[in-house]
């Protein structure tokens, strides 16, 4: 029932896969230099009690407990969109689905990533009252993860229902016109994020593979198609900027 995921700054020991901390609504996470924090950040430039973040329903709030430092919360996909949380500011709400808290620390900039995968987005056809039967997940069609999902689903949406899925490299090539900086790593990151966001069952790497789990991409695509998360109309996100302007 968690709604917020915190990805701490990478440390040398766990460079490959930084730990993720999952917070359910109402749960708090303190961070700072002192070892008593939920998330200790062993850096001399960080306050002993640097701050606290709290999951609040589908979003989260940030308290800056430091005496001097101003924290910046960036939206990595927001083209520079950010908010500033000054020293002493308590419970500042953060509206982004992805965020990066930047802590200034004696010349270094430390980052903590925070994901809020449960944000709600309006779906076409949804009524204004809360009583409609709605899909149990919602996606932001402007986000990169959606473009990645659309690229994965494209072959099957274009006709052949059993078309082989594109490889990560093919997805990178497909997305290049709309996302020039796309790389293998960033596409794979988005695939991993989608698995979290769409709440796929835990992957087969947690125990030996049983009869019912396929690859992550395969599961994502069949889920997305089954529940109409991506339709033919959505493939427009794969078209270049000029085509989209004409929409």
């Amino acid at each position: 029932m968690y709604s917020i995921i915190v990805v701490p700054p990478p440390t040398p020991e766990d460079e490959h896969r930084p730990a993720q901390i999952r917070l359910a609504p109402g749960e708090r996470l303190t961070f700072g230099r002192a070892p008593g924090n939920d998330l200790p950040i062993p850096h001399d430039g960080v306050s002993r009690g640097a701050g606290e973040l709290t999951a609040q329903g589908a979003f989260w709030i940030l308290s800056n407990l430091s005496a001097q430092a101003t924290y910046v919360v960036e939206n990595p996909e927001g083209a520079g969109e950010h908010i500033k949380v000054g020293p002493g500011r308590l419970d500042a709400p953060v509206p982004f689905e992805f965020s990066r808290i930047v802590l200034p620390a004696a010349g270094d900039l430390l980052t903590i990533e925070v994901w809020a995968p449960r944000h709600d987005y309006l779906r076409e056809g949804a009524g204004p009252d809360g009583d409609t039967t709605a899909p149990a997940f919602s996606v932001d069609r402007t986000k990169r993860y959606f473009a990645v999902l659309a690229a994965l689903c494209e072959p099957r949406l274009r006709g052949d229902p059993h078309a082989p899925l594109p490889t990560v490299d093919q997805v990178v090539d497909r997305l290049r016109p709309v996302w020039p900086a796309a790389s293998r790593t960033s596409v794979q990151w988005n695939i991993d994020y989608l698995a979290v966001k769409l709440r796929l069952k835990p992957g087969p790497d947690t125990a030996d593979p049983g009869p019912r789990l396929n690859g992550k991409k395969e599961s994502l695509v069949s889920l997305a198609l089954r529940f109409d998360l991506v339709c033919e109309d959505d493939l427009v996100v794969l078209a270049g900027p000029s085509a989209r302007a004409a929409r």
Partner: protein
Amino acid sequence: MTEPYAVSVPKGYRVGVWEVREPIATGAFGSVYAARRAGEGELPRTAALKFLPTGTGTPRQLAHLRDLVEREVELHRRLTRPRLVRMYETLVVDDPQRPDLDGATVLVLEKAEGSLSARLAASPRPGDGPALLTHICEGLAQLHRAGWVHGDLKPANVLLMQDGSARLADFNMAAELEGTHAYTPAFSTPDYTPPELLWSEIGERGRRIRPSADVWAFGVLAHLVLTDSFPLPGGTPSARRDAAVAYARGTDELRLSPELPDAWREIVRCALARTHADRIGTEALLRRVEAAAGSGCSPRIPRARRPRVVLGTVAATVAVAALGYGVSTWTGHGGGTDHSALASYGASELRTDKGVPVVYRKLIVDSAHICPRPDVTPALIAAMLKAGSNFNPDLSDPGKQEFGIARWTPRVLRWWMRDDGIPAPATPTPPLSPSVSIKSMGRYLCFIDPHLKAGLPGDKRVLVAAAYQTSYGKVNDTGGVPPEYSDYSARVAHWLKEYTPPGKK
């Protein structure tokens, strides 16, 4: 209603013997119109036609819609119960002139006076609320007894009939139980979704729900009908969803409206228990609801007060539930029940004079009862244990990778050993205890049974046993018991006959 109609059908349009009249309602997937019978026939004079646009749209949307339609039609075909709206027939529109309607599936349903949601909007806290809730609960019990879960119980899906009674409708989220849970499409109405499903994992087959999801929805609905407010605080569905999550995590308490009559307070509280395992069962819920509705709230349903009986039954249910969920600690030696009671446990389904070891009787009978399907019986499980291991809990066959009383292969067992249906985090290592082995067997057999093709030759139960040894796919492909399992199957058939009490199937 301001939403555009999902399917617009002109007044006077003819489908089969029906002539379309005024629109009644629309949802995300289809639209409902009133209709009257224009031709001769035995069907009633009026009906409600539900148009589902299966003829239009893209192939993808079609597959998805068809799945929803099939669920609904399948349920109607197989279940006719007094508290479920009846379906008279299904039709397909054949009208190339109207591409938006051509190919649409039409369900011809019993015509209702209106829905509970319209009724609540017009007159909150209706005087006959307790009676309506009894009808709704009866409908749920009828569904659950038949092995189905509704999956989307809310006021809009409760229809009120001319005689003032209520019936359940809208079964496109309904699903048949496979073992202890069912799979429904991952759609929901947040206010009526139990917290454990709010942000639950979703597999490719949809999300796993149990009858307890309907029980939660009933608790919400009862509170709404009786007090005109939701049980969880908040002005918007998402605020109430957060409150539900906080409540389920134990960080907040349930604070029910003071307007809720005392008799109903406990009912709502039991239905809204934090976890699915703590939630009251449907049958016990129904008995309490009947008692509460009968205790003076509604003069329309005269029923005897019987508080003592009700308390007794609830206590018994709790005891059974405790035994059911204490699988891992249950040792097979009785758990407080004396030996003679165990020796005749489930005697009506499993003979007591044929040498089924007494220590396993309760496990065998209870494991079969996990599964609502008629083929999975205590006698079948006992016959399979006899044929497979001769009830030897220490069996070890490393060559075939089979261990324990039920000859489980550990890496397969992993998928069935948990009662919540989630695979265990790791493959178990032998020895495998009888309690885990036999319970898991009940769940796995219940999964196999609906996957066997219809019309295979021979006793279905023996086929299930053979599929347990190989796989249901192998049995389906072979078109019966594969030759290499014929000895085993013959032994199962023999013991099945021995263990089944006379007069039973």
